[in-house]
Amino acid sequence: MFMKIPSLKSVTKKIEITNLADPELFYVPLKSYFGEMKPLVNVGQKVQQQLPLAKGKDGSLVHAPVSGEVVDLSYQINGLPHLLIQNDFANTVYINKEIESASAIADKIRLAGIAGSGGAGFPTHIKYDANQIETLIINGVECEPYLTADYALMSDEPEKILRAAHIAAKLFGAKNIVIALEKQNRELVKVFQSCIDFSDDISFKLLPNTYPQGGELQLIKAVTGKEIPKGSIPANEGVVVSNVGTLWAIYNAVENGKANTERIVTVSGTGAKKYGNFRVKIGTSVSHILNQLGIDLNQTDVVLGGPMMGNIVSDLKQPITKTSGGVLSFKKSETKENNCIQCSYCADACPQHLMPMQYASAKFDNDTKKYVQFNLSDCIECGACQYICPSNVPLMQSISEGKSLLKSLQNSVAI
């Protein structure tokens, strides 16, 4: 049973993508899905836009968003290292011959530093190292409230998404391409159909406006009927799911030889005075974005990402990453925590069919076994349980504490 959450998208839905002025200082995150990345440049080095800056163990790359000078290689924000670039505003571009000359599409994708733009930022070149794929699902279901970055991409640049979809489908031999959209966005069907690149192998799947319909596992079930557990690889089931933002980045890489150094970010929320969908370079700090828009930082809580799964920003230097779809500000509010009344609403709302209230009792009873017993590892941290809880029981806190507890136990067993 999924729940309906007010989408609150109307404020930004119809706003075209615009550019945002670049900041003087960029904080490029040195973290990929598989951990920290190693810098390829030195302090003091002059870099041009698009130059590879760092490389992860899996080959993931991150590139210079602008031209300028490297001023720090390990600037810590929230315990994560960032590479600092002083923008020289010259905008000189490094012509990345490698991307253009790479013969395999998968190599181009890796060299362009593309990571899934919707979820955890899984490296796309690894995901696309797949064959015997039946269905490519294009995830246009932006089920987080407020966010319209994907919507803006689909309505402003649908040809690019279709082109990239064809490129991807060809790469792993997918026979069908399914564009998944929420019913509330059904007007996009026409937008896609009127593109030159539209073809017969593309179909649409309109899904209810419920949360979290855009979660990968839930989407796969809705489109193909296959229910696969968390932790399994969809490609083994003949399915690949890609976000529209990822496809957009693939288009830029394959057709234009451009590395992935920018994304679309929705600025919205109850505390925002200006709204919109902006083209923002990776590494731009949250404070820069809010300053540009004249949003008062003292009276708002800021969220990076969506309001359900995003992070509440504790350090405003925190930058836009390849996965941040939104910068949302909310008027500060106090939520009062009450006793759990055992209403089971959290269990009803959980897309993974878990019993979240048990994680709260595991936390407060210091009962680690309970986390395992009630299948905590199947939790996708979607926040639906916390959203619905009438008592504001700290469910997400219990869940994240439980997960780190289990992880540390696993590690100690491994040793």
């Binding site: 929230n78 504790s314 009450n338 009344i341 055992q342 209403c343 048990q358 199947d378 029981v393 806190q397």
Partner: protein, 365 residues
């Protein structure tokens, strides 16, 4: 903010609040209160009013004294507990007893467990059983149940517009009659209250459905060996008592099993000669198994499969345990020792609060 930054949190939340949940339960009970007025007028009102008054005062004092909280009477739970307890009483119950019941329901049914949401047993029924244990003679005496011939409205005939006959008489009686306990005067509105609560998703359909189907199926089967029961009383138990959130299981399959077992145990009680307390005992017995049921009936996670042999084994085991406990209760009842259970419970609650609950008052669960 310092706390918030350490974990991801949805910053938007639903508008649903505990008070909203409580309000819906009160809405579902209101017609029944109205019918109790029609039936026994001021006597009904005095009983309900006394129960609520006593519960609220106890809630306020005991929350302050034991829980160090002063705002809890406002959450509506004491009103619901008190009204539900009153629903199980005769309108002619002496008011000092009602006041005692209301106070015990809140104190031993809720506060000493640590407050709202933490109770393991239905507080309304706890209050009722305290009354039965402390005033056994009055609670079961015929005089309390037949004393009043005072009724405001004797009969209502809403269905008579459709004609006459046996069925119409039966339907009229379903709509309204003046027999039985305070909450039992309108079977129709009991059912409508249940439908309302299910439609508003305040209770799951699983508990009432499982309970009623099992109960009525078994009652047909064992027709000859069970004594009379009150349909309204069974409905009241199935819809309002068994569904008490904290004392019932959380998962859908668990709720279904729990409801079915209450139905079965209620029939056992009837067959074992328990006249008035069959619903109350069966619900309280199953309350005691709720957390066990939660651990057995864990929903199947997305994309995974249930270990069926294990599930069957655990279900059989817990069913045997429930039957054993029920037989023990029947035995105690037969030899007239059942009220000692309440005294044991009383002692346990004080011990438990002193040594355990007290340390966890700040925890939300």
């Amino acid at each position: 903010m310092s706390k918030a930054s350490t974990y991801k949190a949805p910053i938007v939340t639903s508008k649903l609040r505990v008070s909203g949940v409580m309000l819906d339960v009160i809405i579902a009970m209101l017609p029944l209160v109205f019918f109790s007025y029609l039936a026994h007028g001021k006597y009904s009102m005095m009983v309900i009013g006394t129960a609520i008054g006593s519960a609220l005062i106890t809630d306020w004092l005991a929350s302050w004294f034991f829980l160090k909280k002063t705002n809890s009477p406002l959450d509506g739970s004491a009103i619901i507990t008190a009204t539900l307890m009153a629903f199980t009483l005769s309108p002619y119950t002496p008011l000092y007893m009602v006041a005692f019941g209301g106070a015990m329901a809140v104190l031993f049914g809720k506060i000493l467990w640590g407050g709202v949401g933490k109770n393991r047993f239905n507080p309304a029924l706890v209050g009722r059983e305290f009354m039965v244990a402390f005033f056994p003679v009055v609670m079961t005496s015929a005089s309390v149940w037949t004393a009043g011939s005072y009724t405001v409205v004797n009969q209502l005939h809403p269905f008579s517009v459709f004609g006459q006959g046996e069925i119409i008489n039966y339907l009229n009686a379903t709509f309204y009659n003046t027999n039985g306990a305070l909450g039992e005067y309108s079977i129709l509105f009991l059912a409508l209250g249940g439908i309302y609560l299910v439609a508003r998703r305040r209770i799951g359909w699983q508990i009432p459905t499982g309970l009623l189907v099992t109960f009525f199926a078994l009652s047909l089967w064992f027709q000859d060996s069970i004594s009379n029961y009150s349909i309204a009383g069974v409905l009241l138990g199935a819809i309002f008592m068994a569904t008490d959130m904290p004392s019932s299981p959380n998962s859908n399959s668990g709720k279904l099993f729990y409801g079915m077992m209450i139905g079965a145990v209620a029939i056992m009680c009837l067959a074992g000669g328990i006249k008035h307390e069959y619903m109350s005992y069966s619900i309280l017995i199953l309350n005691g198994f709720s957390s066990k049921i939660n651990e057995i009936f864990i929903p199947r996670s997305w994309g995974r499969s249930t270990d069926l042999p294990l599930r069957v084994k655990q279900t059989v085991l817990i069913t045997l345990q429930i039957i054993t406990v029920s037989l023990a209760v029947l035995g105690l009842n037969y030899y007239g020792y059942i009220h000692y259970l309440v005294f044991v419970y009383l002692a346990y609650m004080i011990f438990n609060f002193h040594f355990f609950t007290q340390q966890k008052l700040q925890d939300p669960i």
